[in-house]
Symmetry: C2
């Protein structure tokens, strides 16, 4: 059922089997499975996640490559509701482990100061990441290209950059080394630091050896039309030709609500086992929040695995359902 501030009161006494934080590709897959296992689950989706911004979904089997992420999300949301999941547009502020259950504090709308405390046996962290983009005075100029010809994922979109003039925009020395992977798809790479760090002599030399120019001035404007990039303008007036771009500036991890709970991380990524279970046996993590490839197909499989493991555990701890009418007293055996 669709929940909102108007009917959330009906769920304050519910103990969900699982609350899924994030209604993107992984979270919705988990919700569809959980619902079809007959488990009580709630998806809390804040809106405008990474896949919402995907203008096309190139690599996901069964989808046309021009399908935007938001269409798949809408379809999945409808499916999850259809099979019996609850769905709430809201923001998870915190998760507190109360032993047998979690208290999940959710704010609904910007004016919700206190929030609502919901309870669940399991938490599925599916809130993903958001790529950092270069900050320009006019951010609309960035959004005009991001997700179209200015990409954030080489695995997803490298093919579409093939042999093009590519701008690689990075904010650390480490990210700049993506040039030496991107060159699988195109050798015509210009590297931009956006003035955010000073490249080492070693990096400068390696780039020069490969013929990849390095621009250390801040970017002031992207040029192009109809979402098609044509160039990058720098603070000193330089205009660098680029028909495509890759932004490698790290990501924001939407995992603040887990900060009160001790969990094992590898860098920023949650460590999980083969069923997406974190080091806390009642918290699962999917997709981009955990280690592994940031791909739609992986997040969708993660949802399958987490939901199945939650079902197995709940099922094994449940009383078996007997066909009472058929049970014979021992003497009759």
């Amino acid at each position: 059922m669709k929940l909102s501030s108007k009917n959330i009161e009906t769920r304050l006494d519910t103990v969900y089997d699982a609350i899924v934080v994030g209604g993107g590709m992984g979270g919705l897959s988990a919700a569809i499975y959980l619902a079809r296992y007959g488990l009580k689950c709630l998806v809390v989706e804040k809106g405008r996640g990474r896949s919402f911004w995907m203008q096309d979904t190139r690599n996901f089997l069964g989808q046309d490559p021009t399908v935007p992420g938001r269409d798949i999300i809408q379809h999945g949301t409808d499916q999850a509701l259809h099979w019996g999941a609850d769905f709430l547009r809201g923001f998870v502020e915190s998760v507190t482990d109360e032993g047998e259950t979690f208290a999940v504090n959710v704010k609904i709308g910007k004016k919700d100061d206190v929030g609502h405390s919901l309870r669940s046996k399991y938490v599925v962290a599916a809130s993903g990441i958001m790529d950092n983009l270069p900050k320009l005075e006019n951010m609309q100029n960035v959004y005009d290209y991001a997700g179209y010809t200015l990409h954030v994922c080489m695995i997803c979109d490298g093919f579409d950059m093939w042999d093009q003039r590519a701008a690689l925009i990075v904010n650390t020395e480490g990210q700049a080394h993506a040039a030496f992977v991107l060159n699988w798809f195109t050798p015509y790479i210009s590297v931009f630091t956006h003035g955010l760090f000073e490249a080492s002599v070693e990096l400068k030399q390696k780039l020069a050896e490969h013929g990849y120019p390095l621009y250390e001035q801040p970017i002031v404007k992207f040029h192009g039309e109809n979402h098609k990039l044509s160039g990058v303008e720098l603070a000193d007036g330089t205009l660098v030709e680029a028909t495509t771009g890759l932004v490698g500036m790290g990501s924001h991890y939407h995992n603040e609500y887990l900060q009160g709970i001790e969990l094992e991380y590898s860098g920023k990524n949650l460590v999980t086992n083969e069923m997406c279970q974190t080091s806390h046996d009642r918290i699962f993590a999917l997709g981009d929040l955990k280690q592994g490839l940031n791909q739609v197909s992986v997040a969708v499989a993660d949802g399958t695995l987490a939901a199945t493991q939650i079902w197995r555990t709940i099922r094994r701890a449940s009383e078996p359902r007997k066909w009472e009418a058929n049970i014979k007293v021992p003497a009759q055996l």
Copy 2:
């Protein structure tokens, strides 16, 4: 490109980066990724695999739950071709490890006695399994219900069996224990051995304690209409009411072509690492052939992982592409 006996000669000198054995959910996902990594790949599909028989695809994000598996397969085949993969309707007879490459012997059509030897650096085993079904004199009577109301996968279709009269058809004592999982979805379970094994006293007692009747006579006919099961008729004339069924009779693994190569198995399943690599570092295994859940979403993610790992290895061993026009002689640095 679509290949056939008419144009296969054009590929006899090709060394593919990867030959994907099986064009089901996993194999097609792998092919789409491989092609979009710019790698030369060939999918060999024998036809009529497990997902071809799926009359509906309940749990796969982004698909309507009534979509038959064959529609997704057709869509994925078109996509793989669109991105540049080769596709051949044929049967892989054998794979021989020649050191740097594999020789993959493929027969095209039933009259092809000798086969064609194709070569690749990597082999992706995505040929899946096929569920064993009860053998009746009139197999059409089985096919009328299999995939509709007579299921083979509890995770996929348990929800659709909820509180129904369910026939559980098994061929071993071990499989009969599925009753004690299926009872999550319905307690109205009748267990059928189809006369294939004799149930132990312990099993009989446990079933009786749960109220699940056991029928040890061979099945002679499924009753119902329009693919909707209504009952199971036994050799002794008994008619047992059942509006749904689950067949747990094991599966045939389509992996005969790998028999000449030493690989690590767990039971019948190939052991793989987190990137679907088998114990042979140039052979990958996807979906139902490997350990893990037999789910569409998992197979599709497996294709992503295997293709990505193959790309990484090939890329790392390749000469980097330089932007020659920009390379300065050291003195100018």
